[in-house]
């Protein structure tokens, strides 16, 4: 099937197998390997991308379902090499260790803060229910998100 979509501001037109998962389309067809695969049951959030402004688990969506959409992956988050405040906050606050969950965490955070510019720790933790990190114990992720929120509010 032929699909057309915009990924990180670039229009992509491809002929894809109807069963192709969006995450494989992004990783294998477009070569954007910053989006990760951590599970096969929609549990971990490593594959989260932003589709039309909403976070989507790209392992749980077919490429054809993304037809006509606008997608941002981790590669599209920073602006001409300039880090987004969320990325900067994860860096400053040791919000990552192995980095495998990080793309998903960052994209999830961006939506979380869009919806709630001044979240409590509990609200942040609640917002991370769909993202698993095995390294950090989440504490510095929460701290990073608080720090990003503060920067973005000012």
């Amino acid at each position: 099937m032929n699909i057309q979509l915009t990924v990180n501001g670039k229009v992509q037109e491809k002929d894809v197998d109807p069963r192709l998962l969006l995450v494989h389309f992004i990783r294998d067809d477009l070569g954007l390997t910053g989006t990760k695969i951590g599970c096969d049951t929609s549990q971990c959030g490593a594959c989260v991308v932003s589709m039309d402004g909403k976070t989507v688990k790209s392992c749980t969506c077919l490429a054809v379902q993304a037809n006509g959409s606008e997608i941002t992956t981790i590669e599209g988050v920073s602006n001409n090499g300039e880090l987004d405040p969320v990325q900067e906050a994860f860096w400053n606050n040791h919000g990552l260790q192995c980095g495998y969950c990080t793309s998903g965490m960052i994209i999830t955070t961006m939506e979380l803060l869009k919806k709630n510019a001044n979240p409590s720790d509990d609200e942040i933790r609640d917002g991370l229910k769909g993202n698993i990190c095995r390294c950090t114990g989440y504490q510095n992720i929460v701290k990073s998100i608080q720090a990003a929120a503060e920067v973005m509010r000012s």
Partner: protein, 783 residues
């Protein structure tokens, strides 16, 4: 350069590539002409393989080749076990990469399909027709040793893989003389490590040169190369292993797995690169599991509360085959550390390693030491109740007093340095322990159940002296080496055989070298992970990377400084004795403008226009470091929990971790390691546990069924520390990667039991799920 960067929490240099999606993990590697492998795994825990019919699959679209055990048999050597504790009658059963006659656990590889893409490979798996005759299975290690249990290997009667006993002091005498004895049966449930990056391998065989390049999700690429050479028969000099970015390991990426060798085999057959990446569910079955002990434990003490002995009998599940380091975990890394933080006259571990129809078991964060710490601390709590002594006071009474250079414990090992009580006091102060106890009493009167758990631990890590490695049957050395090289512009590369995968050592090691050489931290880069450009090293596990790997770098840097001093004296036309080194500069005593920076000297050494007579060009050095002893971090952890008696729900109200890992290179990173370790340990206490049914089917085979810690279930932890240097390594550093998981499981467990004790509950099996707690409470109320 006047300030030391050692000790400062600078942000990590690893992060820019990780937060922008720019890092390359193994599954991100793309090679021209690359094919994809998918592995067919036995759905049975135990079955005779009568035949494998691949004809339909071979005809499926995109399929390039299919191989079975008949193809790999005799071509790939068995997957080796590399840790054979001596005197334990260990039966090294053959572990074929692909099972040919018998499948021995659900997940055992039976065939491999190579196709043009992942989807085609997966599709074809379904077309392979295997005729199995299912056999009875056994999954519990204690049950597997009983008469009549299904037998896994002909050469291992009663499924006994080994029997290892370590006794120090005379436990029989101590138990006979004891005023009090407390006992328990502990189930250290089987855990599934679940690093977030699934295992993956890309194998690329170059026929013309006979060279194999293997990208592998490994914590120890040099060991991987060493073992790959044994399995494939290709010389080590013709194998290159690359552990590019690795997404967490926690021990699960130490072993040599069949899968990497299968991918290599496929590439060698086809002459094309082959990628294999586990799906998560596949990882649940085929990546090692951890723990899996059935333990009978007891402690002897005097009426006054002096602990005199600990004795155990342990059935340690090994899974269907012996994984690379599997046998070392419940023995050396477990049975020698029963003294924990206490002065105990006699300890004895009596450990049976047992085969069962389950995924092989190997090192998982803490590896043996969480199990040891658990049983010691559980027994101390039982003893406190028995004697009516406050559990903290009982601990304090038995703590090993401060020592700076060596303390022998009963098992025969020598702790390096320790000062346990200040950290205990610090944690109690932070918690306001007395107030918590008062609150507990108050709450209990109103029917609220709060509990406090306190753990004192000492652990063994920084593996370790190679001579000891040899003596305890480890199939390799445990030293590290490093090459430190100044380039002509004065920039520095450090090449090391260690292989960090989330621990941030590109940053911390640059901090160390920056200080040692007096160059800016940004002028130093650490190179690791590729056997073709790093010196031999044994890898990252056992909290050894800094204590051993960084020590080697420091020694190399110090050699460089000696050479630079000679060159400086020559160029400054001064006597060597008159040249002083301060912060990266060599200066003639009393003449501050007669000076050369080490980076200038690097340039001069590299161009070699004017060297002292006989001096070789270049400014680099290599060094090997074989530690004289292990290191022994220690600490006190405290948890406060609230248990809702109506629904069994447990909330961790506070968690305080006090750890001493010696001087901290980067406190921010140390804290991160503590957080992660503590949460994995909490996972074991409250949520995680592999469950097999009677047929040996893994019931918890996905992230839906296996409960990993999630953000909303966890508290913010409070992290404290003291810094007691190790006397025997050049930096005084110990290790911090495992302490969290070593201490937190029992801390939370003891806190929950402390909360439930007024309800008559004194023991529960982990994980302490709400349902289990609720049922226990109902049962008590009913009785």
């Amino acid at each position: 350069m006047t300030t030391r960067i050692f000790g400062s929490g600078i942000r990590r240099r690893e992060d820019p590539r990780l937060i922008t999606g720019g890092a390359t993990y193994t599954d991100d590697v793309q090679l021209p002409g690359m094919l994809y492998a998918a592995i067919l795994r036995s759905p049975h825990a135990h079955a005779k393989i009568n035949s494998v019919d691949t004809s339909a699959a071979a005809a499926a679209p995109g399929v390039v080749a299919i191989y079975t055990g008949a193809d790999t048999d005799g071509v790939l050597n068995p997957i080796p076990c590399a840790w054979v504790p001596p005197g334990a009658d260990l039966v090294a059963v053959a572990h074929p990469s692909i099972a040919k006659d018998v499948a021995r656990y659900q997940g055992d590889a039976v065939a491999v399909v190579v196709a043009e893409d992942r989807y085609q490979a997966e599709d074809a798996l379904e077309l392979i027709n295997v005729d199995y005759s299912p056999l009875p299975a056994v999954t519990n290690p204690e049950a597997a040793m009983q008469p009549g249990a299904p037998q896994l290997h002909e050469d291992a009667p009663n499924n006994q893989a080994f029997h290892w006993v370590a006794e120090g002091g005379d436990t029989d005498v101590a138990f006979e003389a004891a005023d009090v004895i407390v006992k328990d049966k502990i189930i250290q449930q089987r855990l599934i490590p679940n690093a977030m990056e699934p295992r993956s391998a890309v194998a690329s065989w170059t026929r013309a040169t006979g060279e194999l390049t293997l990208w592998s999700t490994s914590q120890n690429p040099h060991i991987c190369r060493f073992l790959a050479s044994l399995v494939t028969g290709i010389g080590e000099h013709k194998i290159r292993v690359i552990a590019t970015e690795v997404g967490g390991g926690f021990g699960s990426k130490i072993p040599m797995y069949a899968d990497e060798m299968i991918a290599s085999f496929c590439s060698m057959q086809l002459g094309l690169p082959v990628k294999w990446t586990a799906t998560r569910s596949e990882g649940f079955l085929s990546t090692i599991h951890g723990r899996d002990h059935v333990e009978y434990v007891e402690m002897a003490a005097t009426r006054e509360g002096k602990i005199t002995a600990i004795r155990t009998k342990i059935y340690a599940g090994m899974g269907a085959y012996l994984s690379t380091a599997g046998p070392g975990v419940p023995t050396i890394l477990h049975g020698l550390i029963y003294s924990g933080a206490y002065d105990i006259g006699a300890t004895k571990a009596d450990v049976y390693g047992v085969f069962s129809n389950t995924t092989p078991v190997d090192a998982y964060r803490g590896a043996g030491r969480p199990e040891a710490t658990f049983l010691v601390e559980r027994l101390v709590d039982l003893l406190a109740v028995e004697l009516g002594i406050d559990p903290v006071e009982l601990r304090r009474k038995n703590l090993i007093p401060k020592f700076e250079d060596g303390h022998d414990v009963a098992s025969g090992i020598t702790y390096d340095s320790g000062d346990y009580e200040p950290l205990l006091n610090m944690v109690l102060g932070q918690a306001d322990y007395q107030a918590l106890r008062q609150e507990q009493t108050r709450l209990q009167e109103s029917g609220h159940y709060m509990g406090i758990g306190v753990t004192c631990y000492a652990e063994i890590c920084g593996l370790g002296p190679s001579q000891v490695a040899g003596a305890v049957g480890f199939g390799g050395g445990l030293w590290e080496s490093a090459i430190v090289r100044f380039h002509p512009t004065g920039k520095v590369n450090v090449y090391s055989g260690i292989s960090p995968h989330g621990q941030g050592e590109e940053t911390t090691f640059a901090q160390i070298i920056s200080d040692e050489l007096g160059v800016d931290v940004d002028d130093v880069s650490i190179v690791h992970g590729d056997t073709s450009n790093t010196p031999m090293g044994w890898g990252t596990y056992g909290s050894r990377t800094t204590a051993v790997g960084a020590a080697a770098m420091v020694l190399a840097a110090r050699k460089i400084k000696e050479k630079a001093r000679l060159l400086a004296a020559h160029l400054l036309e001064a006597a060597e004795a008159d040249v002083e080194y301060v912060d990266g500069h060599f200066t003639v005593k009393g003449s501050p403008d007669q000076t050369k920076s080490i980076q200038e000297l690097a340039t001069m050494a590299n161009v070699a226009w004017n060297l002292p007579e006989g001096m070789e060009p270049g400014l680099e050095a290599s060094a090997f470091y074989d530690p004289p002893n292990f290191v022994y971090p220690f600490g006190t952890h405290l948890a406060v929990v609230d248990v809702d008696a109506d629904n069994g729900h447990i909330v961790i109200r506070r968690y305080i971790a006090g750890d001493d890992c010696g001087p901290q290179i980067n406190p921010m990173i140390v804290e991160g390691q503590v957080h992660g370790g503590v949460v994995q340990g909490i996972g074991q206490a409250l949520w995680e546990g592999a469950v097999y049914n009677d047929d040996g089917q893994l019931i918890t085979g996905s992230m839906v069924d296996y409960a990993l810690p999630r953000a909303h279930l966890l508290p913010n932890m409070e992290v404290l520390s003291t810094e007691t240097p190790s006397p025997h390594n050049p930096l005084g550093v110990k290790g911090i990667g495992e302490t969290g998981a070593i201490a937190s499981t029992v801390t939370v467990y003891n806190a929950v039991i402390d909360a439930l004790r007024p309800l008559g509950i004194t023991s529960l099996e982990m994980p302490l799920t709400p349902e289990k707690v609720w049922r226990a409470i109902r049962q008590q109320q009913g009785s």
